[in-house]
């Protein structure tokens, strides 16, 4: 047999073994990881990953999750200007537990002493009692990850967002916090080759923790002239918690009304502040009514709804509407 043929056969055999090895590893890791001896796993563990690493270290593998988190409010919970101002340069003790949580477990957390600049970071939520936790049981060679059903349960977010969690619970709706604020897409948990190829694609939640949009489909308005009064009602018909909602922040909806007479001249104006801290936020599926006395003849009312998040001094337009008195 020629040397070249021998070499070709050898390479083919090595290739087959390699493919078979990868296939077996893939099968074991994704389907039967309990068959892998603990001693073998110990060899590939990176122990420092179980010593509360910084977020950047996690990003070496979990780049996409890190990038989304970096873009989230959670990543700046300790460094945001709004927080620093509101907490009088971080001196208010009540804020610490949720702005720099040690470990989120479904109960109100304790504040931590290290890595405060990272805010609510990977370790805060995924490292519990010395183990890496997540929504899946994973044999992840660098660190084993234990499945914890809390990660797809609103109670987990309720550790800090206690009032919002309570509001949601009272609605009886099934969609969890994660369903709306961490929508899942099928993708890989890691982006580091070759590790990323060893795991099947999984449903991965968006770690930017999306803030929902308000519009005239989820905040409905009805209005009518009634003799000397003008009545307006607002209904939050789609968001299963109060709108706006916050435990300690101060997000607001501003409802502006401008009253005009038949000649188009402004005769009055009014304003409502709809805010959780004033206990005026719009509950789920319950109309909130406002009544205005018309001191002067009024034929038209312009109504504008604006939203100001807790972390901003700017207001965004939600919708604007005009209501005209029906001619007799």
């Amino acid at each position: 047999m020629k040397l070249s043929t021998r070499l070709l056969n050898l390479l083919t055999a090595v290739g087959c073994f390699a493919i078979a090895g990868i296939a077996i590893a893939y099968f074991l890791i994704n389907e039967k990881f309990e068959w892998i001896p603990e001693a073998a796993l110990e060899l590939v563990h990176e122990k420092e990953l179980l010593e509360r690493p910084e977020a950047k270290r996690c990003s070496e593998c979990h780049k996409d999750i890190y990038d989304a988190w970096k873009d989230s409010r959670h990543s700046i919970s300790w460094t945001s200007k709004t927080y620093i101002e509101a907490s009088e340069n971080r001196t208010k003790e009540k804020c610490l537990a949720c702005h720099i949580p040690e470990s989120v477990t479904g109960e109100k957390p304790s504040p931590r002493l290290d890595r405060r600049d990272e805010g609510i970071y990977c370790v805060s939520c995924h490292f519990i009692n010395g183990k890496m936790n997540g929504p899946y049981d994973l044999v992840a060679p660098p660190h084993p990850t234990h499945r914890n059903p809390d990660y797809v349960n609103s109670r987990f977010c309720g550790s800090c967002h206690q009032k919002t969690f309570k509001e949601w619970k009272e609605t009886g709706e099934e969609d969890t916090c994660q369903d709306c604020h961490m929508p899942r897409t099928k993708s890989r948990l890691t982006q580091k080759l070759p590790l990323s190829l060893l795991h099947k694609k999984k449903w991965v939640g968006n770690h930017k923790f999306l803030h929902g949009d308000l519009n005239d489909k989820n905040i409905l308005m009805e209005a009518e002239f009634n003799k000397k009064f003008f009545n307006v009602s607002l209904l939050n018909n789609a968001i299963p918690h109060a709108v706006p909602t916050a435990d300690n922040g101060d997000p607001r909806l501003y409802l502006y009304l401008t009253f005009f007479n038949a000649a188009g001249e402004q005769v009055d104006q009014a304003k409502e502040i709809i805010a959780p801290q004033q206990e005026t936020a719009l509950p789920f599926n319950k109309k909130v009514n406002f009544r205005y006395r018309l001191f002067d003849p009024t034929d038209q009312v312009d109504i504008v709804l604006k939203y100001q998040p807790a972390w901003s001094k700017e207001k965004d337009l939600v919708w604007e509407k005009t209501v005209r008195r029906k001619s007799k």
């Binding site: 509101a86 009088e88 340069n89 971080r90 001196t91 208010k92 009540k94 009064f229 435990d247 300690n248 101060d250 501003y254 009014a270 304003k271 502040i273 805010a275 801290q277 004033q278 206990e279 005026t280 006395r293 001191f295």
Partner: protein, 281 residues
């Protein structure tokens, strides 16, 4: 005669000014600046209060252990007390003179005889040093470091939507409250109704202000709760009626004042007024 009168007056004034503070008088003097570094925001922890707790714990532990005849721990706490007492005496230079190291050492020595009577007697000398400083400064320290500084609190004026100084806002809300009452008294019900709207929105804004420090809703509701809401609804009902009922109107005015204004002022104003004097300096 005129000179005699002027001289008498001057002597009387001098006498009044130089009169010492009597035992039952209390002078609330601003604590020394050096204490700032032992409290937030300059310090992450209220270190001075923690130090006081340490001293109190070691002092109390001596007697607890004497009673339990745990003499090993009596000695340990007596030594720790002296150590912490010395450390404390160096923390605020302006207060160094309140400390009597010899009294602390004498107490520790008496405690180490394991004789309760001797320890009790020696504690008097040490206790006096604590008591003197507490009598002269404790209220001031509590006022300065444990009560909020209202001048630092900003309130969003619901009308302009701009952040305004707390005191300015309180003047504004007081003006709206007055405008409603004055207009009602004059029979100007339309104007009174408009003033009520402004007053109510300013009053409700204070709920957001409360939440800057108080995390529990119960505290907010103590000031601006169900009673206040009912009173506001009652005021609106009267002002929107064809013929407002003065009895109902004034009853609700009283309720708003009693449930909100008075409760908050009783709790916060004393400390706030003292701090204002210090902050104006």
């Amino acid at each position: 005669m005129h000179i005699v009168r002027v001289l008498s007056l001057l002597i009387a004034i001098t006498f009044m000014i130089s009169q010492p503070v009597h035992a039952k008088d209390m002078v609330i003097k601003e604590p020394p600046k050096s204490l700032d570094k032992l409290y937030p925001p300059q310090s992450e922890q209220p270190r001075w209060t923690q130090q006081m707790h340490k001293l109190s714990t070691h002092f109390g532990a001596v007697f607890i252990n004497l009673k339990e005849k745990d003499f090993e721990n009596v000695d340990k706490h007596a030594d720790k007390l002296v150590e912490e007492y010395k450390k404390t005496s160096e923390m605020v230079p302006e207060w160094e003179e309140y400390f009597d190291i010899k009294a602390a050492e004498a107490f520790a020595a008496a405690a180490k005889t394991h004789d309760m009577a001797k320890a009790g007697k020696a504690s008097g000398g040490l206790g006096k040093t604590c008591g003197k400083c507490h009598a002269e400064h404790q209220v001031a320290v509590w006022t300065k470091y444990h009560w909020p500084s209202f001048h630092k609190i900003k309130v969003i004026d619901p009308s302009s939507e701009k952040e305004v100084d707390f005191h300015k806002f309180m003047k504004q809300i007081s003006g709206s409250f007055k405008a409603m009452r004055v207009n009602f008294g004059e029979g100007q019900y339309g104007r009174a109704a408009k003033a009520l709207k402004a007053f109510k929105s300013e009053y409700m804004e204070l709920k957001s202000t409360c939440s800057k420090c108080h995390t529990t809703d119960d505290v907010k509701r103590f000031y601006v709760g169900g009673d206040a809401n009912k009173a506001f609804a009652g005021l609106a009902k009267e002002l929107n009626a064809e013929k407002p009922n003065p009895g109902n109107f004034w009853k609700n005015v009283g309720l708003v004042g009693k449930t909100g204004c008075k409760n908050c002022h009783l709790t916060h104003r004393t400390s706030s007024m003292i701090k204002e004097v210090w902050e104006e300096k």
